[in-house]
């Protein structure tokens, strides 16, 4: 090979590699990278798929309709975790070099593992209505957000509802409340508050843990329920645990109107189960497609073949839960753009954006989701909002809202949260004091 040819080859190689190196930077500058940790496979896919679709489709709709957020496209990237903490951490390591503006772990186990990393890597963790309840304290956990309510708020709302059903909270005294839960981080999360409430209010608490490997084999737990005859059953379940629990409750003739779940079951968990009518759960947002933004999703994303969701699943409960999560992502980014004046924001900016989320009636209307959910305002101190939720009941074919918004019990939850946040920072030696300045709202 001649010297000239070698030089030309070398120059071409250098040029090609510079182009290759420049390309991702160009992409990075023109878009905002939002990874979504999802699970479309494994035992939790039944819950994971509609949520993943809802999150993806709303963000995709913003790209199609508005050209992204503030004129900047969102680079949506899914990483499959299978609801496995180990895989979730692998996903985190894979997305970190791409400078995500936040991560959405969709698993309490993964959230707990990411909390110590968030402040070091400057990547906010958005664990919407799951994760560590104490992370609601923005002064202790400036990089973690868990709106619109913690698991402890959820429990407080359920207990308040059970009190109403019994004729007053004081009437819970002497009653027996059973708690069937996923025997992992998520299900164990509300137990300290539950035990405290049992002590304070004088009801008896019976625990029925369901090990992860036994989610579809719950006959022992429900046989124990038959023996103990609790006045009410409360459930914190996920994935394959929920439909099996409903089936088993029906099998032992447990009165379904006494069976109340936290906000995670979906239509698939009850639909087709004879006798599931009457089952109740918490929820805080709308169901269905009767919102302009949902119509835009159908028109601009689903009809164009840009969604993985079947058309008839758009608007279902957990799909809309995914949409709500995506609204928080979009609002965090939009607020960050507003505060900093930058188009392409980074993790630190979005952390500030999330602290300034103010989803009021007018804002929900402006984004095409009028009356979709209650107002939500986050602050520097409060990363949760502790918003109210309502009870809905399965009527055999659809969910029917049966109560107004039920307020959590701040007088019970707040001291417990403060104590848990203090304990967390003390147990994790060297937990940094908040150094991030608060924006004036």
């Amino acid at each position: 090979m001649s010297k000239r040819l070698k030089v030309s080859g070398l120059a071409a190689g250098v040029l090609a590699s510079s182009l290759m190196m420049a390309a991702p930077q160009a992409v990075a500058q023109e878009s905002i990278y939002v990874p979504l940790f999802t699970y479309r496979t494994g035992p939790f896919a039944g819950s994971g798929i509609p949520i993943a679709d809802g999150m993806h489709d709303y963000l995709q709709m913003l790209n199609e309709r508005d050209g992204g957020i503030g004129g900047v496209k969102i680079a949506i990237d899914e990483c499959e975790t299978g609801y496995d903490t180990k895989k979730g951490l692998e996903c985190y390591d894979a997305v970190k070099p791409k400078k995500p503006v936040m991560v959405n772990p969709w698993s309490t186990g993964i959230s707990l593992s990411l909390i110590p990393k968030a402040s070091v890597d400057k990547i906010p963790v958005l664990s919407m209505a799951y994760g560590l309840s104490a992370s609601a304290r923005g002064d202790v956990f400036p990089w973690v957000f868990n709106p619109p309510a913690t698991y402890w708020d959820g429990l407080a709302m359920i207990i308040r509802y059970l009190g109403t059903e019994s004729g007053g909270l004081d009437k819970l005294k002497g009653k027996k409340i059973g708690y069937i839960y996923f025997d992992g981080g998520f299900g164990k999360e509300p137990i300290p508050l539950f035990e405290q409430m049992a002590k304070d209010m004088g009801f008896e608490l019976k625990l029925y843990p369901v090990p992860p490997g036994e989610m579809q084999n719950q006959s022992s737990q429900w046989l124990s329920v038959r023996r103990d005859r609790p006045d009410f059953m409360v459930m914190y379940g996920w994935g394959a645990m929920n439909p099996t629990a409903v089936k088993e409750a029906v099998k032992i003739n447990y009165p379904m109107d006494k069976f109340v779940s936290i906000w995670w079951p979906g239509e698939n968990d009850v639909n087709g189960t004879e006798g599931a009518k009457g089952f109740k759960m918490l929820n805080w947002h709308g169901i269905g497609t009767d919102y302009p933004a949902l119509k835009d999703i159908q028109k601009l994303v689903v009809d164009k073949g840009l969604s993985k969701s079947p058309k008839e699943k758009v608007g279902e409960l957990l799909y809309n839960r995914g949409v709500y999560n995506a609204i928080l992502i979009a609002e965090g980014i939009a607020q960050a753009q507003k505060i900093t004046g930058k188009k392409v924001v980074d993790g630190s900016d979005v952390r500030r954006g999330l602290e300034n989320i103010n989803l009021d009636e007018a804002r929900f209307k402006a984004i095409g989701l009028p009356a979709f959910a209650g107002n939500l305002q986050l602050t520097c101190q409060d990363h949760n909002g502790h918003r109210a939720a309502f009870i809905q009941q399965w009527d055999g074919a659809k969910w029917v809202k049966i109560t107004d918004f039920i307020q959590p019990m701040p007088e019970k939850v707040k001291p417990a949260l403060d104590e848990a946040a203090k304990e967390y920072s003390e147990k994790n030696a060297g937990w940094p004091k908040r150094s991030e300045a608060c924006d004036k709202s």
Binding site: R40, A45, G48, G213, S220, L223, S224, A240
Partner: protein, 318 residues
Amino acid sequence: MDILFKVLIDPFLQMGAMPDLFVQTIWDGFVTGVLYALIALGFVLIFKASGVFNFAQGIMVVFAALTLVGLYEMGLPAPLAVLVTLGVMFVLAVAIERVVLRPLVNQPDIILFMATFGITYFLIGLGELIFGGNPKQMITDQLYLPRGAIEVKMLGGFVQFQKIDIAAAVIAVVMIVALAVFFQKTRIGRALRAVADSHKAALSVGISLNQIWVIVWFTAGIVALVTGIMWGARSDVSFGLQVIALKALPVLILGGFTSVPGAIVGGLIIGIGEKLGEFYWGPLVGGGIESWLAYCIALGFLLFRPQGLFGDKIIERI
């Protein structure tokens, strides 16, 4: 003393105080045990014929059930969907023999064992690719399986027998009898037993190992389909069922890897044992002991019979 009372006496007092619940626990354990036994049977069949511990048996249960429901959802009538699913399991058996077993013949057992891990992950991926990850409802009515329960008043209370559980027990018994007849009375069955005893001796009398492997993997596929239908009818057909299939491990430890009666008796002991343990002793430690209690029961038996209840005693000279 209090703890001794709670462990050694109180559970038995409870059994006496609420005998209907005791019978109910035994029945629930029996049905669970029958289903464990069916899964274990799939393992035993393959282990006997090829010496391979088939880690993929659990996912075969899920794959067979998903195929059945998936085909039905695609518009096939239920009986035809069953036939086509059987066809799919046959094709799978042929493919495994051709692609996995044949090239690995004469390799150490551990290689074949690892190959079944590969089959597991391949089937998970294939199942999710074709049918998606969403749980599916078993087509119970379309398969003419009964719904509802029979409530029998007895012992001062009532015992509930789910019709689907009764059907599962009956079908399992029929299947076990059919397999026993197949093994004992048919030419292929005798060939299978010959292969199980010695590959070399079987080859020397003209038995085709390849054919036998296809037959045995197909038979394990049929067992997987039946198990998938029955378990799917009790909960849902989802990839979570694959985890339950691992319960067959303590059943095999207990019953022996090579014994069909061992799989059945082992399944029943584990099924009933873990339900009794969870129900009467579980509350003492906060519940949720079912997942590891099965292994404790199996290990307890191993202390006295290392080869399992019905397993072959292997004597190797050094």
